[in-house]
Structure formats: C-alpha cells, structure tokens
C-alpha cells in the first residue's frame, strides 16, 4: 500500500469496524466516541494533511528485519502473557468481582443516573475525565502553537476569491448541508443532555457539534466560517470549558468537601451529584467542541496559506 489515501480510507474502515465491535461488546459509549473521533475527526485531519504533503509513500529498499524482530518478540511476550488470563467473558474473573460491582450495584443509589459509564466517568473517576479535558486542551494549544498563521487583511480578499471559485460545483450538497446542519447541532444538544440516560455525554456532543461546524467550513470556506466563529471566541470557550470543570471542584472545596465531591453542591447528595455531572459535562462539551474546531481551523488555515503562497508565486513567476 503505497497510496496514503487508501491507507487513510482503510484506517477509517478499521475504526468503524472496531466501533461495531465495541457495540457488540456492549461498550456503547466507547463505540459512540470511536465512531465520532476515529472515523470522523482523525480521518478528516489525516486527509487534510495528505493534501498538504502529497499522496504517495516512497518505496524503501532495505528490508526492516530489525523491526520485524522487535515486533515478533513483543508479540511473543504478549501471547505468552495471555496464557494465564481469565478466559473471555467469564463472569467471576477478578476484574468483575473487585471494584466494578460497587459501580453497578450502588451507583443508582449514590448518583442516581442510569448510565453507569457516565456516573463512573463524571463522578467516581471525575479527575481522570478532567485530565482528559486537559489533554485535549493541550493538544489544541499545541496545534495552535505549531500551525497558527498571522493573517494579513489584504490576503483575505484573495482567499475569498479562491474559495468561491472552488465550490461552485457543490450546489446540491450545499443545500443538503444547510438543511442538515441545524439538525446536527440539535442532535449534539440531545446527546449532551441525554448522556445520563443513554450513550453519550459531553465529549461525544462536543465532537458532533464540532463536526457540524467542520462540515460548514468545508463547504463554505474557511473565511466564511471564521466570520461566524472567530478565533479568539473559540479560544475563550476552550479555556472556559476547562475552567468550568475545575471550578466545580473548587466550589466543592469551598463548601468543605474534597475536590470534585458533588454531594455538597446541593441540599441533598443525589441532587448535588446531578448538578455536578451536568456542569462538568458542559465543561467537557465546550472544551472538546471548541478545541476540535480550533484544530481543524488551524490545519485548514495553514493549508490555505500554502495555497495562497503557491498562487502568488505562480503569478509572480508568470508576470515578469
């Protein structure tokens, strides 16, 4: 496989397949995320990058025996390790009998929402999720630090001109997309709020929301999209999401309990848990959505800059 495009397409298929596997294994929340992230966002990002870097892989002459050796050895160790594993699906394996039963049996009483994954994610292990939000925030800042380009006003006009010429052929799809986008945004909100009862939650909602904006950007051009959502607003939302999440913890400290102890947020523990989970899910949703949009904008902006440079150099090359 020397064609990177095919590789990325197959990666998308692999991701969809593993997501289907997750559904079959009862991990619906994970399948949700994997579908949105693996098949959606990362495939898209890879595509954008391929368009910037070229499509084919160079053939290498030497045979990577060392790599093969390392891989076979590592695989061998892993296979060796599997022999003493509890068999697949056995209910009394240690993994199912030590920590997990408390989540399954008590979470309804202690937290009061039916989706156990959400209650573990947002309450029992809220700090992990906080870390996760910070990871995504870090990635956003990192991508921005690497790719952000200063925009000069006179370039904007040229860019718009290029953009418009590029998608005249997409009339049908533009109309369909215009019909779809409100629906997608609405659906994102549904996922945000329904996370307590079914699969979903802040993270998935954020990704879906971002996907809608990305769709819009792809069809109507970056300049138009930036008019709707400008860069510093997005940064503000990203920071605000992390801060909102953290502040929930700090408020519980101020109320005399431990960090992320939602029980003290309202008069009775279960209501407090509800409030806490609602707030942090919003924090997650805001940060994830804005960071995803930010990442995509930066990639697309970089690409646009490259294109402009190419165009300008072409024009300059022809004129003298």
């Amino acid at each position: 496989m020397k064609d990177l495009f095919a590789v990325v397409m197959l990666l998308g298929i692999y991701s969809l397949l593993s997501a289907s596997f997750f559904v079959a294994m009862d991990a619906v929340d994970v399948a949700f995320t994997e579908a949105a992230v693996g098949a959606g966002i990362s495939t898209l990002l890879m595509l954008v990058v391929i368009t910037m870097t070229g499509r084919s892989e160079k053939t290498t002459r030497h045979k990577p025996w060392l790599a093969l050796l390392v891989v076979v050895f590592t695989g061998g160790v892993l296979i060796y390790g599997t022999f003493d594993m509890p068999y697949f699906g056995i209910a009394d394996a240690p993994i199912h009998s030590h920590v997990a039963p408390r989540y399954i049996n008590e979470s309804m009483k202690e937290i009061g929402i039916p989706n156990i994954v959400t209650s573990v994610l947002a309450s029992y292990r809220a700090f992990d999720t906080f870390g996760e939000v910070v990871v995504i925030f870090t990635a956003g800042i990192g991508v921005m630090a690497l790719l952000s380009v200063g925009r000069r006003p006179e370039e904007d006009e040229k860019t718009t001109a290029i953009d418009d010429s590029m998608h005249e052929q997409y009339l049908v799809i533009r109309i369909v997309t215009k019909m779809l986008i409100p629906f997608i945004l609405l659906y994102a909100l549904y996922v945000q709020f329904h996370g307590d009862f079914g699969p979903g939650g802040g993270f998935q909602a954020g990704v879906i929301f971002a996907a809608a904006i990305i769709l819009y950007t792809m069809l109507f051009g970056l300049t138009t999209a930036r008019k709707v959502i400008n860069q510093s607003f997005i940064q503000f939302i990203a920071a605000a999401g992390v801060l909102l999440y953290g502040c929930v913890g700090i408020v519980s400290i101020l109320n005399g309990a431990n960090f992320f102890d939602y029980n003290v947020l309202a008069s009775d523990p279960v209501a407090g848990q509800h409030l806490g989970i609602l707030l942090i899910e919003w924090g997650v949703g805001c940060t994830v959505a804005s960071v995803m949009i930010m990442i995509f904008f930066n990639f697309a902006g970089r690409k646009e800059m490259q294109q402009n440079n190419e165009k300008i150099s072409n024009i300059e090359g022809e004129s003298p």
Binding site: S20, A36, S56, M218
Partner: protein, 97 residues
C-alpha cells in the same frame, strides 16, 4: 430474521472492504467507504435489536452523520490542486496491487 439480515450485511461489508483495498481509483475507494459506512449504520441498528436494547440507535445516527461528513471531506480535499497533481503523477502506482 434479524440475525439473517445481520449476516447479509456482514457479507456486503466484506465485499465493500475488498473493493476498498483493490481500488483502483480514488473514487472507488470513496464509494467503498461510503457503502461500508451505510452498512455499519444498518449493522448497529440491527445489533441493537438482536441484543434486545434498541435504545442504542443514537450511535447509528452518529454513524450516518459521520459517514456523510467524511465523504464530503474526502471529496472536498481530493479536489485540491496538489492532490490532483500528485495523483496524476503517480497513476501508474495504482497498478501495483
């Protein structure tokens, strides 16, 4: 019946993967991925019914959306100059497999 339909979709998925691997053109692959995506939507909906918890249809909706978005993305970005340029240069490459 549900299980039979699931199996049928599996078969269709495998066919789509083969087309995705074989190619030969860019658009064949996109087509294969698109079809694969639709089939995954159906598979998930069916699995929900097979396992007796049909409330997981949310995931199927997400799949449909994501599928749409990625196809648009592919088309949008396969249209740029550089992409065409390189793919035109290396067309013989496709014949390798």
């Amino acid at each position: 019946m549900l299980i039979a339909a699931t199996l049928a979709i599996f078969v269709a998925m495998i066919l789509a993967i083969i087309r995705g691997i074989v190619g030969p053109t860019l658009y064949d692959r996109i087509l294969a991925v698109n079809m694969f995506g639709t089939k995954t939507v159906l598979l998930i909906s069916l699995l929900g019914f097979v396992m007796g918890r049909p409330e997981f249809l949310d995931i199927a909706i997400v799949y449909a959306l994501i599928n749409f978005i990625s196809v648009i993305g592919v088309l949008r970005y396969s249209d740029t100059n550089k992409f065409k340029h390189t793919s035109a240069d290396e067309k013989p490459l496709d014949k390798e497999y």
